[in-house]
Symmetry: C2
Subunit: 177 residues, 2 copies
Amino acid sequence: MISGHIFMAMSLDGFVARENHDLDWLMKQKTGGEDLGYDTFEAGIDGIVMGSGSFLNVLRLGEWPYKKPVVVMSQSLRDDAVPENIQSKVRIARGGPKALMASLESDGWKRVYVDGGLLVQSFIREGLISDLIITVIPILIGTGHRLFGALERDIDLELTGSRSFKCGFVQNSYRLL
Amino acid sequence: MISGHIFMAMSLDGFVARENHDLDWLMKQKTGGEDLGYDTFEAGIDGIVMGSGSFLNVLRLGEWPYKKPVVVMSQSLRDDAVPENIQSKVRIARGGPKALMASLESDGWKRVYVDGGLLVQSFIREGLISDLIITVIPILIGTGHRLFGALERDIDLELTGSRSFKCGFVQNSYRLL
């Protein structure tokens, strides 16, 4: 059975980005090289699903950071939006979360990293997420794009781990019940 | 110098209450009698400032739970809204956060517990809060009243402590920088 997994950072007031998508508040954090567990997390997944906004943001970084295959969910992005040098690593998928997960399962994927605020919200709403790893950044930014969105019903969580870092980050792991 | 302190619970998605002020999602949590540190916190403050909404909620509980003096900030509540049996413990104050803190300081208060969502937001915005103790409850409720609100500028935080409880709560302490 395929499962969705989340590994995201949010400000203490629950934002993943400013209104204008700026991440300056996150990038300015001094982590002092502490291992925040991302590499271990990425090693345990089969691939990454992200929205077009996240994809275009990552492209702007210049260097492609992902080792695992990436699927970009987009109704509007054309296939030629993927630069040639990463065409073996990235593909664009149409359709909704459930259809995509079924398709990935038939490709043999078991664990999918679901990345990006809006995508996280829709995958949670559709019951496609098994667990969350949330790293809380020690800052209040007041407004922006929230990690979590409206729900049709409460979602109870089981805390499966909590650790804090010298840099002031707190990383909590939850299983969705 | 008088200082404001916050000790609040929020859902992982940042809410202190549902839209209708319901706390059922919090009250249903099974803490198994674990000491969440409230008594130690209350022992270290001189008194509590809350809004009229929180005050009326607490009154509805029947038994008055606070050992320390309580000041209810309200422009509309009349003095006779305070039941006779707690008139020695509760008073109503008009005016804004800064004026109230100055007045409490002249009364000899040093550490003030600021309680209730809206009050927390206004005291943070006015720079009257020194530190936060935030207990994150393992549930997503989707909508409601948020603990944190809009800000004129970012507020950087220093993590001063983090602990998790068997019941799945994570309690983080921050100093406002």
